[in-house]
């Protein structure tokens, strides 16, 4: 009987209820997006950093990996020292730089990574293979498109340009042996990876025995803190960054979006709450006569409260469910906008859906739905019966 009455009052003004559900749906969509935004980019970044299993990054003292052009000297010695630390499984030194590549008459600029090909810490081979000799390299899809090069081609690659001599410097002819997906590179970025000694040699004295960072894999996640402490003791000239520290830095950099998410999420929730409160209050006011007669014939105050709370919660929940679907669509659209951030790895998702997000949004909306019904239900249940009956009769 209770549900029958709830249903009846919801369908009494269909247009109004529909608009309320729509309003809540849009608010819910926004709320879900904001919940996804507040946690998604963090989770996505963490997934990205952990995708190759390296829990620790070492960068020049006081900097973040690839945040500046600064490099670490005595790379070979540091590398050897790192390998002696217990629980260190893999060490992957990486040198970054820019190269100019010419193939078939077309020239392209690319970001070059000097790596240990045996480790494949920065890329995954899509076709072909990793470099096995000093004169081989792999490249991204974008590089293939930009230069028109094909697997097996010889490509002229230079590491710099001397303005005085008007000539390229550090030029080598390298063989393109693989097509790779570069995990940390932005979309549309021409990228190549070649053996570290090759890139160091190409860049000349400024990069001699230098790297931009080391990636370190520990034997297990719970050994990371110990390895970090060992690194700080063994190699004091570098900053060792764990995933957690990196996440903190990312949090700091992207705090604007997190704060925006909190503000907009709260506003969305507030708008949905206000909409439902207004509608249910008006609906209760319109049927004071019915409510008061129910009270007069012995329907308990709690039952009236429950009926109104169910009405507000029903609007919120139906709107929320519709909003979750809508939210996923809008999240994809918003993500496509933010994905065009310059320099951002293509694999980063600002809006990463996790079931927990849907539950959080649903939970918040359910609470808001109940809260939205509190005032109107209190109003309906607390009316003095005799006075209201007389006023209704006069009206």
């Amino acid at each position: 009987m209770l549900f029958r009455l709830v249903w009846a009052s919801l369908v009494r003004h269909r247009a109004r209820t529909l608009l309320a559900v729509l309003g809540v749906a849009v608010s819910a969509a926004m709320l879900l997006d904001m919940v996804m935004l507040s946690s998604g980019m963090r989770a996505s970044f963490k997934n990205l950093l952990l995708s190759r299993g390296f829990q620790i990054r070492l960068s020049p003292k006081g900097t973040l990996p690839f945040d500046t052009d600064a490099t670490i000297g005595d790379a070979a010695e540091i590398s050897a020292r790192l390998r002696t630390i217990p629980d260190v499984i893999t060490v992957s030194p990486v040198l970054g730089g820019q190269v100019y590549a010419s193939a078939g008459g077309r020239t392209a600029t690319a970001v070059a990574l000097g790596v240990d090909p045996a480790v494949e810490g920065d890329y995954e081979i899509v076709t072909g293979r990793s470099p096995s000799t000093a004169n081989e390299f792999v490249a991204s899809d974008d590089f293939f498109h930009a230069t028109g090069a094909r697997l097996g081609d010889s490509v002229s690659v230079a590491a710099g340009f001397d303005p005085q001599l008007r000539a390229v410097t550090g030029q080598r002819t390298l063989t393109l042996v693989g097509r790779a997906h570069f995990i940390y590179m932005p979309a549309g970025q021409n990228s190549v990876a070649l053996p570290l000694p090759t890139l160091q040699a190409m860049r000349g004295e400024s990069a001699h025995d230098r790297v931009s960072l080391f990636m370190v894999r520990a034997s297990s996640n719970d050994r990371v803190d110990k390895v970090l402490a060992d690194i700080e003791r063994t190699v004091p000239r570098v900053t060792a960054v764990s995933i957690e520290t990196a996440m903190q830095q990312v949090d700091e950099r992207l705090s604007y979006f997190r704060q925006l998410a909190v503000i907009l999420g709260a506003v969305s929730l507030g708008v949905g709450f206000l909409l439902v409160t207004t509608l249910v209050t008006v609906s209760v006011n319109e049927r004071l006569g019915e409510i008061i007669v129910m009270r007069a014939i012995g329907v308990a105050r709690e039952r009236v409260v429950l009926q109104v709370l169910l009405e507000s919660s029903a609007i919120m929940l139906v709107g929320a469910l519709a909003g979750l679907g809508l939210g996923l669509v809008t999240a994809r659209y918003l993500n496509s906008i933010l994905a065009s951030f310059p320099g951002l790895p293509a694999a980063i998702d600002f809006f990463l859906f996790e079931p927990r997000d849907a539950w959080v949004a649903l939970g918040l909306l359910a609470v808001a739905g109940v809260l939205a019904g509190i005032y109107p239900s209190w109003r309906g249940a607390s009316l003095p019966i005799a006075v209201t009956l007389r006023e209704e009769a006069v009206a």
Binding site: M1, L2, R4, L5, A8, S9, R12, G289, E290, V293, M294, R295, A296, I297, G298, V299, A300, R301, R303, P384, I385, A386, L389, R390, E392, A393
Partner: protein, 232 residues
Amino acid sequence: MTRLLVARDVKRDYHMGGGGGLVHAVRGVSLDVDDGDYLAVVGPSGCGKSTLLNLIGGIDRPSSGSIEISGERVDTMRDADATRFRLLRVGFVFQRFYLMPALTALENVELPLAEAKVARKERVARARELLAYVGLAARLDHRPTQLSGGEQQRVAIARALANRPRLLLADEPTGELDAHTGAEMISLLGQVNGDGTTIVVVTHDEDLARAAKRVVHMRDGVVVDDRRQDGS
């Protein structure tokens, strides 16, 4: 005969907003009603008769005085107890019927039964029986808007009788009905009383007042006359 209702020096004052001052709606009414009686309260508009009915039914509280029904003090009940009392011990019939527009006749009668937690099968049977009793066996699934005024008032009476109250309180039950339908309603109320339910009815309708066993006249919040129709 058992005494069902005992009211002693009942007063009800209202504070009127907007500087209207204190209104003495009921100014010390004492009344005894026996089980099975049929009492009509008559008097000019504003004399306090509807207020008295509300006080008896526990939907309003007296400013002073006491009201007992079947030995239970209605005037001092907590709100939850008063609600339960209205659900089980008295039945209300209003001038404007006040049926739930979204519910069918059957569901309207089921409503107080559902609130009293009567099992679904039992309450449907009881509601059917009551609607048949008031002559609406063929109108179970009709909604209030599909019923005439008289039919709506019959449903309201069936609803009031749902939990087998010993006392039926009716406020101008024929006020919205034409003469013919009003007469039918008077007959139905007579039948309800004949079957053992005590009735207190507030009315301007002389025919309805004539049908009662006892008539109480009120003026300015006090009882000015109280007599049985058989001349006692």
